[in-house]
Amino acid sequence: MVTYSVGMDDDDAVFRALADPTRRLLLDRLYERDGRTLSELVGEQEEMTRFGVMKHLRVLESAGLVVTRRAGREKLHFLNPVPVRLIHDRWISKYAERQVSALAELKTELEDTA
């Protein structure tokens, strides 16, 4: 599967998946209660067709944000927060550190010239 090998370690797939409000809503639904079937998720999205929910779940799955497991005859969808954590580690904390160190430098500079 093409999307699989590309999305394997790819921030793009995660950012793209998170860029859509409906997909974020689906993640929130799974956060509230994990391990749901497609029908359960469709039932909560009143304005969306089964096909629409399925399509969005596929994007979330190829980004690694949703993992599916079989339980008997049912396919359950689970929220996988690990890619979000990796994005956080790679991007957010990096810039947060830079901001902190920039402020620290500014403080030193101001105090030295004072």
Partner: protein
């Protein structure tokens, strides 16, 4: 059941976590089962496994976990019991189960899956491991295996 039970949010009894790691199954197995590695990403815990027992010890040697190993199949599959002995409140709950699966993929990657289930009798444990719990362990494990360095902070 009492009325209180109705308003309680449904307990998640199965949790699934996945991460792709650029490493061999053997290297990932080593990171999971060698206490010198686990203490770098598993909240400081030294986790030791035999084919029948899992021991997890905190930095001062205190017992974090002491459970049966149900499946020990290096470097693919490890199944063991879980009780959170690091917290008296959670230790009093029913034991649950953790399954590690390492599945080789194309391009030198493996997909590591952790399933924490049978959490029906351990709602506090379920809540605790679902927040930062497993997420931090798996992201830390990936960083350690791929770069050789523990996550800063």
């Amino acid at each position: 059941m009492s009325a209180a039970a109705v308003t309680t949010p449904p307990v998640t009894t199965t949790q699934v976590y996945q991460v792709f790691i650029r490493a061999t199954p053997e290297a990932i197995w080593e990171a999971i089962t060698n206490p010198d590695f686990t203490e770098k990403y598993f909240y400081g815990a030294r986790n030791e496994y035999t084919d029948s027992r899992r021991l997890s010890k905190g930095p001062d040697g205190q017992l974090y976990g002491d459970e049966e190993v149900m499946e020990y199949d290096p470097p693919r599959r490890l199944v063991h019991g879980w009780r959170s002995l690091y917290s008296p409140e959670m230790a009093a709950e029913q034991p649950s189960r953790v399954t590690w699966e390492i599945a080789p993929q194309d391009g030198g990657y493996c997909l590591l899956t952790v399933v924490h289930d049978q959490l029906e009798g351990a709602p506090k444990t379920a809540e605790s491991v679902s927040g930062e719990g497993w997420m931090m362990v798996l992201s830390g494990l990936k960083t350690l295996v791929e770069t050789g360095a523990p996550m800063a902070g």
